[in-house]
């Protein structure tokens, strides 16, 4: 089967800055794929290249087998992009904007039923005739998602879609996106919320300094971090003997990486010997954030 996205040796330079340093990546049809990395890692650059918003310095990209440069019409038909910024056209209401967007893709009144369905599914029905300027941030975010879906693209890219979105809306959005994925749409997601990627994505690429530093199924990436995390809140500083286990600390809270549960007893005995009181304690499974921290070096 043709990959939904194929990226071959893609480089992007801005003067001396190497935003992408030779990316190779294939995302299969029907995948729920996560693109993770700190700010400046090159995630948005990669998405903008897929969307044809910028041009690569070298290398090739295709969407559903269509070259992004030479077969841009077909490639753009196959792709729906939800941009990171809350951009909108202040002259129009939600329904007008969606119909215009469908029109840009060559779709006319025959597509209105689908536009109405998206409006309904994303909870925009009572705002359909509201000017985009007057929508709340959450509603604007929904409208952006709706805009990316008007032409029923098989591949949907969501660039940090839940940034600044409340929990309720986030849940609603993910239910809708999961439904699209079940219906066969390929979903590519960038997010700072690693638990989202862990819950939703079947495969993840981690980027740093314009390169992919890890690419695997979420399950395999999680296996790379064995054992558990022990979160401790202590009455005094962590004893020096336990420092080698420290993953990170915030104030009087410490996160220790354990290779096995039996280590808990050892940790607690050393804390007792140092005459330190444990104010709170929690044993946590290692998650994608730990993998991320291990590889990228920052949460």
């Amino acid at each position: 089967m043709i990959p939904a996205i194929k990226i071959e040796q893609v480089q992007k330079h801005y003067g001396n800055l190497q935003a992408l340093r030779g990316i190779d990546l294939a995302i299969e049809q029907g995948e729920f794929f996560g693109l993770l990395g700190p700010n400046g890692a090159g995630k948005s650059t990669l998405i903008n290249l897929m969307a044809g918003l910028i041009r690569p310095t070298s290398g090739k990209l295709s969407v559903m087998g269509f070259d992004v440069q030479t077969q841009y019409r077909q490639a753009r038909h196959a792709l729906g992009v939800v941009p990171q910024e809350l951009v909108f056209d202040p002259f129009f209401n939600v329904r007008e904007m969606l119909r215009f967007q469908a029109g840009y893709f060559g779709l006319g009144p025959e597509n209105d039923a689908w536009v109405d369905e998206i409006i309904e599914c994303l909870g925009l029905a009572d705002k359909a005739h509201t000017n985009m300027r007057k929508l709340s941030g959450g509603m604007k975010r929904r409208a952006l998602i709706a805009q990316a879906l008007v032409h029923k693209p098989p591949v949907i890219v969501l660039d940090e879609p839940t940034a600044g979105v409340d929990v309720e809306l986030r849940q609603m959005m993910w239910e809708f996106i999961k439904r699209l994925n079940r219906e066969g749409h390929t979903i590519i997601l960038t997010t700072h919320y690693l638990e989202e990627a862990e819950t939703l994505c079947s495969r993840v690429a981690m980027m740093k300094h314009g390169q992919i530093i890890a690419l695997d199924s979420t399950a395999n990436l999680l296996k790379k971090i064995p054992g558990k995390n022990l979160r401790l809140k202590l009455s005094a500083a962590l004893p020096e003997t336990l420092r080698p286990l420290l993953r990170h600390e915030v104030g009087s809270e410490y996160m220790l990486a354990l290779t096995e549960v039996a280590q808990v007893e050892l940790v607690l005995s050393q804390i007792r010997e140092a005459d330190i009181v444990v104010e709170d304690m929690q044993l946590i499974e290692a998650d994608l954030e730990d993998v991320f921290v291990d590889l990228v070096g920052q949460p």
């Binding site: 903008n48 038909h77 992009v81 941009p83 951009v87 202040p90 215009f100 840009y104 060559g106």
Partner: protein
């Protein structure tokens, strides 16, 4: 039945959106320029009527075509340039850039909307003026051709300015230091034969002069230059500016990095 094929629907939708964009704020985009032109007319005709005749035409009548065309040109420019700079600054241009619309279709849609605004403003001024002044048109087709070509030239110019400018300040500079002087010094208010020889020569380098002169010929059948020469120069200017705009769009200048 769909009158527009799906291939044409993209640029057609962009054109419709651009039309609606200026029509939604028609007080600003249509009524205001009509009002400004009428104020110019009122003041200049009051001061100079009876004292000046140009090409055997009384001054008020002479002034009207120039004022109409000046408004047509400024508004055609404003339409494409302001739409582009606004959507660049607001970030919503991305919605068009993500679509299969080609650079040529993008150009044609913006150009057609600029022409439409030029025509609406020009017609608006004309309809209000003829309520008060008898203004026959000797060559209506020529009037229409110069209106369309003039708006098209400035619409294309507006696309270039909209792509080039990164902020409203730069756009204002483009408008105030290029478009305004070119339109004011194009013979709107005078015949260039009333200028010293040096400034007559300088005026011949201004493409706006030929648009206004040819347009005026359509009304009175008299002009500073032959209408054929004016039409050729305006058409050539349009093709040159369009070529530049298309070249910039194709390369993705400041639109696609």
């Amino acid at each position: 039945m769909n009158l527009i094929s799906s291939e044409m629907r993209g640029p057609w939708t962009l054109f419709k959106k651009e039309l609606l964009r200026f029509w939604r704020v028609s007080f600003q985009t249509v009524a205001a320029p009509v009002m400004t032109a009428l104020l110019y007319l009122l003041v200049f005709s009051h001061v100079l009527e009876g004292r000046v005749q140009v090409h055997g035409v009384n001054y008020t009548s002479f002034l009207i075509p120039g004022l109409i065309m000046m408004s047509v040109l400024q508004n055609a420019f404003a339409n494409s340039s302001s739409s582009l700079i606004q959507s660049k600054v607001m970030g919503n241009l991305v919605f068009v850039l993500l679509t299969p619309i080609s650079y040529l279709e993008f150009f044609l849609a913006f150009l057609a909307a600029a022409i439409a605004r030029g025509l609406v403003v020009g017609l608006g001024i004309y309809l209000v003026v003829i309520l008060f002044i008898d203004l026959p048109i000797i060559h209506p087709l020529l009037v229409l051709v110069f209106t369309i070509l003039g708006s098209a030239l400035l619409g294309a110019f507006g696309i270039i300015a909209g792509m080039w400018a990164d902020k409203f300040d730069q756009m204002a500079a483009f408008q105030n230091f290029i478009i305004m002087p070119l339109s004011f010094l194009s013979g709107v208010f005078y015949s260039i034969h009333s200028l010293p020889p040096f400034w007559q020569e300088v005026s011949h380098l201004n493409p706006f002069f030929y648009i206004i002169d040819g347009f005026r010929y359509g009304f009175f059948g008299v002009s500073d230059m032959s209408p054929v020469v004016s039409l050729s120069i305006v058409a050539l200017s349009f093709f040159a500016i369009s070529w530049l705009a298309l070249h910039m769009l194709k390369s993705g200048y400041k639109l696609r990095g």
